[in-house]
């Protein structure tokens, strides 16, 4: 019975295992904060690329699209070099803290949010453009209108970003260090327990992670559907 992953997962949850809750809480904090920061930067960036014509725009779009597939370990390495003692931001002493993990995840999520929101906003602009010009709107004024009107599409984009952030292990492992009680999150804990051969615990953690992601997606879907029905 103790070797059954579902049993382990359930007993961990039901016993309010303190270590587990800390790991879950840190995972959520890091990923949610990373997605929030990436959204604040990425949505306006995507909308700006959709709205303005400038030299090298095609290149920017290609780079954003390509970075959606950026391997997490490469992002981790970049942030590691940036934050390591000898690196340009080494002074901050950020390496092996949750802050470093947030930065790494922002690097991973930002291209997804920017590239996909660029696409959604551009589609919508095609539909709205004449009306906007008729209303005498500047491009800068179009941006908030488009972002708000694309809100349902952007919610899905946000979920894609959160999925990437919460599922990612390579980058947070490199810049966080998987320090027990400080930077251990669900994915790094799963890797560790698997390595130790504690497969039921690893699987149990996996089930908890999966359940959390499901719950968040279900919640976002419900919110989206309800508002969509209300606002058409």
């Amino acid at each position: 019975m103790e070797n059954n992953a579902f049993y382990v997962a359930l007993s961990l949850l039901l016993n309010f295992d303190a270590a587990l809750y800390q790991i879950v809480a840190l995972s959520l904090q890091v990923s949610l904060l990373a997605v929030l920061i990436a959204a604040v930067l990425g949505f306006p960036l995507g909308a700006a690329v959709a709205l303005w014509r400038f030299p090298g725009r095609g290149g920017v779009i290609v780079v954003l699209n390509a970075l959606m597939g950026l391997p997490p370990v490469v992002a981790g390495l970049m942030v590691y070099l940036l934050l390591s003692r000898a690196g340009p931001l080494g002074e901050l002493g950020f390496l092996f803290t949750p802050g470093a993990m947030v930065i790494a995840q922002v690097v991973l999520v930002l291209p997804i949010l920017a590239a996909l929101s660029r696409q959604k906003v551009e589609e919508m602009l095609g539909e709205y453009r004449e009306q906007f010009v008729s209303l005498g709107m500047s491009r800068a004024r179009m941006m908030p209108t488009l972002l708000w009107d694309a809100r349902f599409a952007l919610l899905t984009v946000l979920l894609a970003g959160f999925g990437r952030a919460s599922a990612e292990v390579g980058a947070v492992m490199m810049v966080g260090g998987n320090i027990d009680g400080v930077t251990r999150v669900m994915t790094t804990a799963i890797v560790l327990e698997t390595g130790k051969g504690n497969l039921p615990l690893a699987l149990g953690l996996g089930i908890v992670l999966l359940t959390l992601v499901m719950l968040i997606n279900a919640g976002a879907y419900l919110v989206g559907e309800l508002t969509r029905r209300r606002t058409g």
């Binding site: 709205y128 010009v133 005498g136 709107m137 491009r139 004024r141 009107d149 349902f152």
Partner: protein, 247 residues
């Protein structure tokens, strides 16, 4: 994309509306001349109905006049200082994914109407166009006729001196057409210059003060409505009024 609307005044003497002049206006796309050269002046009381067969360049002319497109050659000018306040109602109304009233408030907000004044102006316009009951309804779930009325209400709150309408009733049923035509008359009564395209002769007879007839990208005649319907001069217009199929 510069702002083409002059600042919106709370109350303004709208009459007489500024006159619109086309001076040798040509519009070409990929070396092909789609419209013009056109020269004419709209300075009567209107409403001006732009008529002609499909592909004659009616919508193009309207977009050039409104400033959505720039002429390849020639000049579009107004008798007023600078461009007058203007609005356009499209064949397919383009409404934001928000409630009816939020659509109007958005239009007021981009025209820098003070926040306090917006809600009242918006509700008054909804009431005027028979949409008070659906102010909180998402604009995009309204019926086709309601959507077009909402587009007219959005134009109304901006108190335009000139209103362009591009086949605003072509997708509507008779009751909705009637409401749109009544709205157009309201704008006209307020002293707004109306420039509207249609391919419906009956509608033109009901609304027109003067008619600008286009075919093959050229202005064939510009006469008072009476003259156009009773004694059209050009061969194309004669055929069009007679109900023949012109190309």
């Amino acid at each position: 994309m510069t702002s083409m609307n002059a600042p919106l005044l709370a109350s303004s003497a709208l009459y007489p509306p500024p006159a619109l002049s086309f001076d040798g206006v040509t519009f070409s796309h990929e070396e092909k001349v789609l419209l013009g050269p056109c020269s004419f002046t709209l300075d009567g009381t209107g409403p001006t109905l732009i008529m002609g067969p499909n592909g004659a360049g009616k919508s193009l002319l309207l977009r050039l006049a409104h400033g959505l497109l720039s002429p390849t050659q020639g000049q579009v000018s107004w008798s007023s200082e600078g461009s007058p306040r203007q609005a356009m109602v499209f064949q397919q109304p383009v409404l934001l994914r928000r409630s009816a009233v939020a659509n109007l408030i958005h239009a007021l907000s981009v025209n820098n109407v003070p926040r306090r004044a917006r809600a009242k102006l918006a509700f008054d316009a909804l009431e005027r166009f028979g949409l008070a009951a659906c102010s909180d309804t998402p604009a995009r779930v309204l019926s086709g006729g309601q959507q077009q009325r909402l587009a007219l209400a959005r134009a109304w709150v901006l108190s335009p001196q000139v209103l362009f309408l591009d086949e605003p009733t072509s997708a509507l049923d008779p009751a909705a057409i009637k409401a749109v035509e009544a709205a157009v008359r309201e704008f006209h009564k307020r002293g707004t210059r109306i420039v509207m395209t249609t391919h419906d002769l009956h509608q033109a007879r009901r609304l027109a003060g003067d008619v600008l007839f286009l075919s093959g990208g050229k202005v064939r005649e510009h006469t008072p409505a009476e003259t156009f319907f009773n004694t059209p001069v050009s061969r194309e217009a004669q055929a069009f009024v007679a109900g023949e199929l012109v190309d």
